[in-house]
C-alpha cells in the first residue's frame, strides 16, 4: 500500500524549557492509529510503516513520511501565515497614529503630560522580537512579541502562560533509521500554513523490515529580556522515536486477491 504518513509533534515549550528536557513535554501523533501505530499522542509513538512488495521482492508502493511541529501555547494555526507580520504592522501604525495625535488630547496640558502619555503609548505597543544568531548577535525581526490573543505581550503584567511562543523548528532527523538507509529525510518548502514554509519529509525503504529508532533535532525558542530588548534565544533539544517497518505482498484492495484486473462486468 502506498502511504503518506503525517507525524505531528506538539511541544509544551514552557515546561520543556523549565525541565531542560522534552521528557513528558512532547506529544507525537500520526494518522495510522487504525493501521498499527501505537502510543498515539504520547512521547513514545511507534509509527507503523506498512510497505508492500512485488513477487520478486522489490518495493511496490512509495512511502512518504512528513513531520510537522507546533507548540501548545501559540496563536491559532487557523490564522493566516502573515498574521503575525500584519498585526505587528498594525500595532506600529496605531502607535504612530497615537503619537501623531498626542498633542490633540484634551488631558495634555504640560510637557510632563506629554512625556507621560508618550511613555504609556510606547509601553502599550509591546516589544519587537529579536532573534539570537549563531554568533550570539541579536537581529530585530520587526515582529511584536504577542500573547495568545494577538495583543502585545507585556512581561510582568501578563502571565507567562499567555505568551504566544515562537514556533519550534525541526533542524535535522538522524539516528539508526537514517544510518541504515531505512528512511531518507530531506527538508522541503511548502505553502501550507501550519508548516510555516518548511517541513521535514522522508521516503522509506520498506524492504528493511523491523523496528528502528530515529532522532528528531528540535530547536525551541526561549523569550529573554535584557536591556529593554526582547529576544528569542534558541534552545536545542532532541527526541527519539521509532518506526515499525513491515512489508507484505501487493494485493488487490478490492478483491483481497492477487494483482489483476478489477472484477468489473
Amino acid at each position: 500500500m502506498s502511504q503518506e504518513i503525517s507525524i505531528l509533534l506538539l511541544v509544551d515549550i514552557d515546561a520543556a524549557i523549565d525541565d531542560n528536557s522534552l521528557e513528558s513535554n512532547v506529544y507525537m501523533i500520526d494518522n495510522l492509529r487504525t493501521e498499527g501505530s501505537i502510543n498515539e499522542c504520547s512521547g513514545n509513538l511507534v509509527t507503523a510503516v506498512n510497505g508492500t512488495h512485488w513477487q520478486d521482492g522489490t518495493q511496490a508502493g512509495e512511502i512518504i513520511i512528513n513531520w510537522l511541529i507546533s507548540t501548545i501555547s501559540c496563536l491559532p494555526p487557523a490564522l493566516p501565515r502573515n498574521y503575525h507580520s500584519h498585526r505587528s504592522k498594525m500595532i506600529e501604525n496605531n502607535t504612530l497614529h497615537n503619537i501623531h495625535h498626542l498633542h490633540s488630547k484634551q488631558d495634555i496640558e504640560t510637557v510632563e503630560d506629554i512625556k507621560s502619555r508618550y511613555q504609556s503609548i510606547m509601553e502599550e505597543k509591546g516589544h519587537s522580537a529579536h532573534v539570537i544568531d549563531a554568533r550570539g548577535e541579536a537581529t530585530n525581526t520587526g515582529l511584536v512579541v504577542m500573547d495568545v490573543y494577538g495583543d502585545p505581550y507585556h512581561p510582568g503584567e501578563s502571565k507567562q502562560s499567555d505568551l504566544s511562543h515562537q514556533q519550534p523548528v525541526i533542524t535535522n532527523i538522524t539516528g539508526e533509521a537514517v544510518d541504515l538507509g531505512v528512511i531518507f529525510p530531506v527538508q522541503l518548502g511548502t505553502p501550507v500554513v501550519l508548516k510555516d514554509g518548511w517541513y521535514w519529509c522522508a521516503t522509506a525503504d520498506s524492504g528493511k523490515t523491523g523496528t528502528y529508532k530515529y532522532t528528531i533535532h528540535i530547536t525551541l525558542f526561549k523569550l529573554k529580556y535584557a536591556n529593554g530588548i526582547a529576544s528569542w534565544e534558541p534552545v536545542k533539544m532532541t527526541w527519539d522515536s521509532q518506526l515499525k517497518v513491515t512489508s507484505e505482498p501487493k494485493r488487490n484492495g478490492f478483491t483481497k486477491g492477487a494483482m489483476s484486473f478489477l472484477p468489473f462486468k
Binding site: 499522542c41 501548545i72 501559540c74 487557523a78 490564522l79 498574521y83 498585526r87 490573543y149 499567555d162
Partner: protein
C-alpha cells in the same frame, strides 16, 4: 493584572472521524497545564486543572493540515465557565475562549465541530473535563 490563560489544543483526525462517523478515538486534547495538575494529557479525556479567574482558549489542529475543521460551539455549564467567541484583531478569524467563574470539582464539557469539505457536524463524546480543587 490578567488572569492565567490555559491553552487547550484539540487534535482531530478528520479523515478518521469522517470514515467512522464519530470523534471517538479520533480526538486528542493537550493543554499547557500538566505541571500544575492537569491529567490525562494526549487523550480524549483530558482533565484541565483550573482556578477561578483562569481563562481557557481552545485551538483546533487537524491531523491532516489540508482538511477543514472548525470549532462551532462549546457545551459547558455557564455557572462554572463563561464562554465567548473571540475575533482576533485585524483578522476575521474567530476562536473560543472561556473564563472560569467558579471552580468545579469536575465538570464535563463537549465541543461541537464541523469537519471535512461538507462541513459535517460532530460532537465530542462527553469526556473532556475541567477540574478544580
Amino acid at each position: 493584572m490578567k488572569n492565567r490563560t490555559i491553552s487547550i489544543i484539540v487534535i482531530v483526525d478528520v479523515v478518521g472521524a469522517l470514515a467512522s462517523g464519530s470523534l471517538k478515538d479520533n480526538i486528542y486534547f493537550i493543554d499547557n497545564n500538566r505541571k500544575r495538575g492537569s491529567e490525562k494529557e494526549g487523550t480524549g479525556e483530558l482533565k484541565t486543572k483550573v482556578e477561578m479567574g483562569d481563562h481557557l482558549i481552545w485551538n483546533i489542529l487537524p491531523l491532516e493540515p489540508e482538511a477543514f475543521s472548525q470549532l462551532v460551539d462549546i457545551v459547558i455549564d455557564p455557572e462554572y465557565v463563561e464562554k465567548r467567541i473571540l475575533t482576533f484583531k485585524d483578522s476575521d478569524i474567530t476562536g473560543w475562549v472561556g473564563e472560569v467563574r467558579k471552580s468545579p470539582d469536575i465538570l464535563p464539557y463537549q465541543l461541537v465541530l464541523k469537519l471535512g469539505n461538507e462541513h459535517q457536524e460532530f460532537i465530542t463524546p462527553d469526556s473532556a473535563f475541567i477540574i478544580g480543587g
